[in-house]
């Protein structure tokens, strides 16, 4: 019986589940699709309600995963196939080629400096650029470069090879091929996280058409000291500091007309946090939050919202905008909305609008569901075995779920559920080992 567990997803939930298991002596394979672990939390500037710097509290855990003798980190890798049952799953994992020898790369970044190809940086939500050879962010774990073959001149046109020439460690290896490996595990934990809904299909918000209408995750990268503007919070259209910023809640979520009917659970409070950050950066900037219901449901959250109102002067407006229009010359915006308190139609001018879009389950969940016979709900979240009494279990014994992929939740809830999934996996190891003995 293998005393080991597969964890899928290297965000905060996957990291926590891995560390709990590894610290009790269980071998963990932590599979992450992208080149670095860290997930969404790595993209955030600060966290609510304590305003802790997100990467600063996450980085030690990421590095603990890298250094832990019981954790095998498999980044830039994907799960291909799962066979077997609780106690003895066999998992085929595809290691995608980085075209960089991870043993030799020191993460010095010389290749990235010299690479001539610029690609929108996914980590910065496409605001800044990265190179075709890149590390997603400065604290990436592992700190190993990856060549993006889709954009690399050598792979697309057969020219360049600059990275190979400049690499002081001779780590570039264009010949690398995908590798498959099989691992045996007693249990599997899924922690695939979320994606953001792209509201460019909802024409009333102007996202994609108006430069100064951005998404909340783009905001996080804009205000972050390690982001593309070095933490200068400015308008994408002209690089000027905005004087009025409006946050719009429930963009595509809580929608009855076909987008996403559910509530993403975190937006009211992260918008509050983002508003506080603006007021701290630029105390003269006016900040409004347009919301339907203020959902400050976690520990200390209502107190946080009260603080935003009283100490930071953030203005909360019960309203849902009917439309946003752009001034073609100044690129400033006008929001038309119905004030729910008075029932009157009103207008509000803004230099920037931050949309808080529905946070939705990953497309990949379908693939995993198929590979492991798991049930998904109507939205694509993994379905709990029993929504009331077994929230972490799936319909397949030995396979557990945690974090946002089970249902919308914030960081502490994801961390708690991840530890919970680790407990269930530990139970599975003990029980299946005993059964095998008997």
């Amino acid at each position: 019986m293998p005393n080991s567990v597969l964890v899928i997803g290297g965000g905060i939930a996957g990291i926590q589940a891995s560390l709990d298991l590894a610290n009790r002596g269980t071998k963990v394979y932590l599979v992450e699709k992208t080149p670095s672990i860290g997930g969404r939390m790595a993209q955030l500037d600060k966290t609510f309600p304590t305003l802790d710097c997100s990467i600063c509290i996450l980085a030690p855990k990421m590095i603990e995963c890298l250094r832990h003798p019981n954790i095998k980190l498999l980044t830039h890798s994907e799960v291909k196939e799962v066979k077997g049952k609780a106690g003895k799953f066999t998992v085929t994992i595809l290691k995608k080629p980085r075209y960089i020898d991870s043993e030799k790369c020191t993460g010095c970044g010389t290749c990235m400096e010299k690479c001539p190809v610029k690609v929108p940086n996914e980590f910065d939500m496409g605001i800044g650029n990265r190179k075709a050879v890149y590390m997603p962010f400065k604290q990436a774990v592992p700190l190993i470069a990856t060549i993006d073959a889709e954009h690399c001149l050598y792979f697309t046109k057969g020219v360049c090879r600059v990275c190979e020439k400049v690499c002081p460690s001779n780590a570039v290896s264009y010949e690398q091929k995908p590798e498959e490996m099989n691992v045996n595990v007693a249990s599997i934990i899924l922690a695939t996280g979320f994606d953001t809904f792209n509201p460019s299909t909802m024409s009333e918000y102007g996202y994609g058409r108006f430069k100064n209408v951005i998404l909340s995750l783009e905001f996080e990268r804009l205000i972050s000291a390690s982001g593309p503007t070095g933490g200068r919070f400015v308008r994408p259209s002209d690089g000027k500091e905005p004087e009025i910023v409006v946050f719009v809640q429930c963009v595509g979520s809580r929608s009855q007309r076909g987008e996403f009917p559910f509530c993403s659970s975190v937006c009211c409070v992260y918008a509050t946090k983002e508003s506080i950050l603006i007021r701290e950066h630029a105390p003269e900037t006016q900040v409004y939050i347009m919301y339907i219901d203020m959902r400050a449901i976690g520990k200390g959250f209502q107190e946080f919202v009260d603080r935003a109102k009283k100490e930071y002067g953030v203005m909360y407006v019960k309203a849902h905008p009917g439309g946003i229009a752009e001034d073609p010359v100044t690129k400033s915006l006008q929001i038309n909305y119905e004030d729910m308190k008075t029932g009157k139609m009103k207008k509000l001018k803004a230099d920037m609008v931050v949309l808080c879009p529905a946070l939705i389950p990953k497309e990949d969940n379908k693939k995993f569901a198929e590979a492991m016979d798991l049930e998904l709900d109507q939205y694509g979240f993994f379905k709990s075995r029993d929504e009331l009494t077994a929230p972490i279990d799936t319909n397949i014994p030995g396979i557990y779920i945690c974090g946002y992929c089970q249902s919308p939740k914030d960081i502490p809830e994801s961390v708690a559920q991840a530890s919970g999934a680790a407990a269930r996996a530990a139970e599975t190891i003990v029980c299946t080992t005993e059964e095998a003995k008997a």
Binding site: R24, A59, A225, S226, R295, E303, T389, E413, V415
Partner: protein, 571 residues
Amino acid sequence: MKEDNEPRIGVFVCHCGVNIGSVVNVPEVVEYAKTLPNVTYAEGNLYMCSSEGLSKIKEAIKKYNLNRVVVASCTPRTHEPLFRSACEEAELNKYLFHMANIREQCSWVHSKEPKKATEKAKETVRMAVAKAALLEPQTEPEIDVQPSALVIGGGVAGMSAALSLANQKFKVHLVEKENELGGKLLELYKLYPNDRHSSEVLEEFVQAVRSNVNIDVYTSSTVKRSEGFIGNFKATINHEGKDETLDIGTIIVATGANVLKPHNMYHYGECKNVLTQLELEKLMKEKKLGKPKNVVIIQCVGAREEKEGGRNYCSRICCAVAIKNALHIKELVPEAEVSILYRDMQTYGKDFEEYYRQARENFVQFIRYDVENPPEVFTRPDGKLAVRVHDILVNATIELDADLVVLSTPLVQQEEAEELSKILKVPLGADRFFFEAHVKLRPVDFATDGIFVCGTAHSPKTIAESIAQAYAAASRAGIPMAVKRVRTEAITAFVEESKCTGCGTCIKLCPYNAIEKDERGIARVNDVLCKGCGVCAASCPEKAISMRHFSDAQVLAEATAALGGTQNERV
């Protein structure tokens, strides 16, 4: 590490991207560090905490034969363990590492004054170097861990935690103050989302707990005393009037919450037809609801506002509970009109929105009121109860007949929690719920090792959320019990026996009961209990007590350096 006492210090200064580097002139600080006494090597790095930065430290230890390391970067609270383990990997005792915080204490607080921030960073590094020169290696004692857990509270959270630990093959002692298991589930009617009777769900849990050989259940029992430390607690339980002491490895607090009794609000207590949500559940459970024609449910009663007797937090579950009970009333009394008066509808997550829609389809009326203009419960001249409310969505004041007024009040901490928090030496927060070690990343740990929290004792949450958190506590508590050993604090007090007069001052002051007199009448410190707070060392009239890693000499060297001295003047 080589056995030579001549300090050879390496100083590593972090840019922290732009966090430090854009304010503090890091190269200047590095150059300055090189001029300090005992500094053999100094360098700067964009991120010292990156794997590259850590390798640099390890390489330098080897290459320059360093025997002390100083990192000038961020806060030791998050990053010290990381740098310490890098030192250990290079075979340097981790207590020979010292950290200077030039981010929180320099670049962040003096972001508008880069020159002064740089000067302060230099001074901070000078202090750290002065202390580092006097650092000594320390060891962390290892102790055995009892593979048995004490779970306090026999509600759904406590039972779930107990079951998980028992399935991990640990012994569990489950203590419940009432004479039966179940907690609040005993009082509920039917549960979301599948409308199963609470009693039926509860029965399954109790069956599983009762039939598990690894769980000992103590009903009508309370925890009277707890002594000891992680792995080796001695907990005294009062079980049906008799005291019993148990050897315990870890403790889980799952004592649950109560519902606020809304005295002086909406005529509760004066008028028998004004109930709390929990009292309504009980009525339905006991089939005593009768045939109310009009039911008015008021949300946020004593919640989300500064009000005497109320709470300022959101109790999270009340909106979904109100919807659930509105639908149950409709089911039991199909002709009943049910209205929910709310401020913000907290139907968060993936399923509650759908539930909310279902309630609207079933003609539950939702009326939104404003906190400044709350509803009013009054008696009409004919003696009948009614509610007046200003509906902000239609901007009109309306009156509703009410055979029954149901008040949604927040979950609040149990009265006994105060005492339990003292017994276990774990804190309560401003909201009086148990306060975890870190709000974001350690949601079920207490700062005290070996003690954990879950369920509504931590904050209001649903049954499913309580169960998930209970498993989390079972994971965290399971770790030391699975490993069977833990390392304890090295920074402890020690007594210079020749100076001790046995006056007992330290014994009286120690908040952890870690000091006792030995057979000679001399103070003796229990290293495992000692948390290194330093109260004893500060108060010993004979200066017989010193702190490991915070010796007078080390602290004075730092202070001397702060005041401009660059030499380590031995005190």
